[in-house]
Assembly symmetry: D2
Homo-oligomer: 366 residues x 4
């Protein structure tokens, strides 16, 4: 209820600040009996961690996760799984400049007005670093969903700044630092290189997908599956827009084209993005998000200080020129957490409903 717990039955409580001693989370509600090791979680953390290319922050963090509880002899016990990641590359630099003024577009003004106090070291609690525990928890959810239903999650970048990234294949995604679904990313490398030199930042758009979805997940009125996906995605640092299925394109569509026809062989299209009436249909979940440009840039900006006086702000330090680049594994994790929570909620209320009707195959893409 106090804003740092994600989910209702698969609950992830997140803690930590960018430059405190540690960050982490407690996962409560994980089903018992699943094999789980630190390696299962580390894999996704490594995909998110900083310092892996010159296009992301140069902070050097191994982000090594330690399982503190909830696993006995390699299996989950049904009790809380606490995950700890020690911060190792904090810098004891002088934060007095940042502490006394507000960066345009940054959370520090809002934090100060809300709490009357804030931890200015590296953005404190508002740092994108706090997505690491989310990724760790998502890895646990992904594992269970894959074993139980065969559900799989993936994400890729579809636009960086003003450059569209055409979709070639999911296979390219792991092989470039942009999570781009193309074989040749040299164009985007040049673009980022120039941007970095100019001391500016840019936004990005991403596509997130879940395939092998169970049918019937989602509460129909308020805690709809699409609502919870939008909540999860818009809650990711810097995200300013979320689309599901046809998204904004659906405005100009007709009912005759938007509604996905059903046939014994499967749906004929996927304008729904896998969800109607707030409930999953078994089609792939298709989500698209917009990530704004980083607010921490070295170009000088007009602002005010903590006394309300005019000032100029320059942000030094190690920052991502495009936070969208590292957003793919985080967005995947968030989608997995939403699906996981709804899978447990569905099981609670409906058990194993048998309608006699097989879920129809999810054949068509949009």
């Amino acid at each position: 209820m106090s804003g740092n717990t994600f989910g209702t039955l698969f609950c992830v409580t997140n803690f930590g600040e960018s430059h405190g001693p540690a960050i982490g989370c407690v996962i409560d509600g994980c089903p018992p009996g699943m094999e789980l090791s630190e390696a299962d979680i580390q894999r996704d953390l490594d995909r998110r961690r900083p310092g892996t290319s010159k296009f992301v922050t140069q902070r050097n963090e191994p982000d090594a996760v330690e399982i503190l509880s909830g696993v006995y002899e390699g299996r989950t016990t049904g009790t809380p799984i606490a995950l700890l990641i020690r911060n190792t590359d904090q810098r004891s630099k002088d934060y007095s400049n940042i502490a006394q003024s507000f960066r345009p577009g940054h959370a520090d003004y809002a934090y100060f007005q809300k709490y009357g106090i804030r931890d200015p070291r590296g953005g404190g609690r508002s740092s994108a670093r706090l997505t690491a525990p989310t990724v760790a928890a998502g890895a646990v959810a992904k594992k269970w969903l894959k074993e139980k239903f065969g559900t799989q999650f993936r994400a890729c970048m579809t636009q960086v700044g003003e450059l569209d990234i055409p979709f070639e294949s999911w296979e390219h995604v792991p092989h470039n630092p942009f999570f781009a679904p193309v074989s040749d990313v040299s164009r985007y490398e040049e673009y980022m290189e120039q941007l970095r030199k100019s001391g500016d930042s840019c936004g990005a758009a991403l596509r997130i997908q879940a395939s092998g979805m169970p049918v019937g997940l989602g509460q129909p009125l308020y805690d709809r599956l699409d609502a919870d996906i939008a909540y999860a995605m818009m809650g990711l640092n810097a995200v300013k827009a979320v689309e599901i299925g046809a998204g904004f394109d659906s405005v100009a569509q007709r009912g005759t084209t938007h509604g996905d026809s059903l046939s014994p062989e499967g749906f004929r299209s996927n304008n729904a993005g896998g969800i109607v009436g707030g409930i999953s249909t078994g089609q792939d979940l298709e989500v698209r998000i917009a990530v704004k440009p980083t607010s921490s840039i070295i170009k000088p900006r007009e602002s005010i200080d903590v006394h309300g006086q005019s000032t100029e702000v320059i942000t030094k330090g190690r920052h991502d020129p495009c936070v969208g680049i590292r957003a793919a594994p985080i967005a995947e994790a968030l989608l997995a957490l939403v699906v996981m929570d709804h899978a447990l909620r569905h099981r609670a209320q409906c058990g194993d409903v048998d309608t006699g009707l097989l879920p129809i195959p999810a054949s068509a893409s949009r």
Copy 2:
């Protein structure tokens, strides 16, 4: 937790089906001592109700609200406010056709697979009619926020089908059936007339705004104000996309232009849409949503029946050719419910924090 309660401290529990005896909600957590009468609520219900123009469903419902509890001698007592709206224009028609097959784009396939049973009369629980109690609850939230902070909510249509609707002035909105911010809506009337004759439906886009916002609302990590707005909006029937502030445009922006400069006179722009780091800045909240075309159309569609066999579906009855037309008061209500809940959450944790810094004026639009 079971999907029919909105909010955590200002909790709205919704019940009812389109053609059952009644719909309504219970509001729990309303502060005591506020003047409240049925007229305060009826005003917004009347803006949403069906049958008010030829461009919406011809169902004739007064949607008269009865306050069953929580108000004594014209003031809220702090106990639950139960609101009841009797359904009066149910039709005892034959639903066997709809009950045996699934409309493309409609929730009935998902409901059937989830629960193994569904109320097919007028869409049952998935009907847009269930937004009426949300609007009623939103009216209570709006009243408190206006009296406490001077916050005000409004919404208008910005696109219908493929037609953009330019923004002229908020003053035009109450004077046409489209909630359009323009003086002359003849072009949209003709468009809708043709669409209705063709037996098809179209989507719409809307803009929702809150002005006079308190600073500091929103929990910073998961229950962010922007996340909860996205949750609320994407949960509205037929919504497929949500933008806050610059939304998808932020992808192609630079950090130097996106981040709203601060000055002693106020913010210089509003790309943030009133929220940074998940917390309100005092700028106006600016939200945009996409509403898909109605799935209940009279044109025949390919589908399957409850045995998985091929069939053709035609939806007769009284339906909105563009559900987006009536979405404005609902979207306002949802935004008010989100802000209300966060106002109470903020007061719980932070009381009246005094930073010594006045909220800077929210001068600029985007």
Copy 3:
């Protein structure tokens, strides 16, 4: 979160005041497909309702329940079940005396200080009348638990004022107005008759039992089954104490006698009251509660008025001289609601765990 919702997955949201137009509740999270009619619920309401003997309040209320939603063609649909009970015997008497002063032992002082406003008519929200919707919701839970697991709930009175009521048989309970497990209640009738004449009131103790319990219900640390039972029971109007199993007797017991031995034929005793470590063992749940004497009595009492000045208070009107008399069906309902909620929570996390070990029979009473 705001205090009028019971349960987390089988959620009951209660509304209404003693002399408002109606009371009721919304049940959210009921599994779909269960047969349910108003008669299933009315049966328990009739056991609780006032005016059935001279030992309870003479308010004459049929407490007729109306199902407003969530049931289609006689079966639950998985959507919210709204239950409405119209108040029919409100009295338009003068409440100005009660409204201006505080009854010793009554909630009106606390309500006034909390909210600054209260509905004084018949106790308003603090009236025991608000247990009727709880009983109605409990009837739905009982029905599901009986069909699913064979679980059954019953309660009886074990003490009235200073008189112990020996346990003879559960069969006597429905046949006397005290819910007493004895064949001859003349002694208690005389006692109550004298008490009523004296204008005073007395307390009562009750025993509540669930048999046919599933094994493994309860969350082990905070949301333990015993903790939630204590919460439910202590939340019942006028309850001041709760025991589970051996209760206070366990203080003087030794570990060698308290711990219930296990054998292939079953537990040898039931000091646990059916719960160890917060989790059900399959033994019968055994609960005991103490109900204080009614605070609304006609004997004059020293008190203060709303200005803090000394005054004398006399409560006229129709009141129960021993609220414990009607507590049996309410306590049963609360126990059923707790078990129901934990049954769904267990199914969410653990599905159908198969330990290979049969639950051992629950043979022994304490």
Copy 4:
């Protein structure tokens, strides 16, 4: 929702097992700006920790707490406070005996049946060791409540086994290992010494009190202050009964004596235990609990093994012969957590209600 989080607005999420690498908790919702150091928390942990006398478990744990987050420059920031306590005295002994059979009165049978897996090392998650994080969180709540309202919490033992402990003075409590309110505890030392030699265990009763209580805390219907206290106390390991105010004595009382008279000088008595209608009156909170005898005893007991076959169980290792001895600081902490949560909930809904009526003084004890 998954059973390891306590509270709704001041949320404490607990993790860990008795012999895992660490235990701890995350406190979410603490108001910002309060001075907080590890020393503030360590004080209460030291009162609870094992090995301090020969009457408690000889496990030697410093229980040194580390604050991982939520505090910046010695003040709370309003973000989650993560507390970590490393386990240092785990024993790598052979648990195969305990793992294969069930101790009468112990949680291991229930855990096994619930989850199909359990961590047998020192009781795993069911160990009383998991109360340490609760005590740590309670210390934070106590500090805030003391600074804000002057509220103070204390607890003492009132019965050990069959021996009553008369109340002499709160001043004696810190000066003996029993938390007994008497100057001479030699009688109880002898009793415990004999019990320990016999290889058996006994129960205990405790009294817990809060003074300096704010008026108006508690939600009136379900989340009543008394209900939440009962929930908290019955959830403490080994507790089997909870009384508030007159408790079971209220059964034999008359309405004329039970209801605490009000006068301008204060309440004349405290049968209510500080709560009427679920809401605090400003009188002292008075709670009494029964703690059962430890189930881990060295005397042989009849039981079954994991295959359902008869066996005999002996528990070796380091155990408390009377867990009630160390319960006083834990019960205090739990009471503080309940009051804290309700203080924030009250502030959320009611802000600073001004009734014009001063809270009357809480003068009388029961």
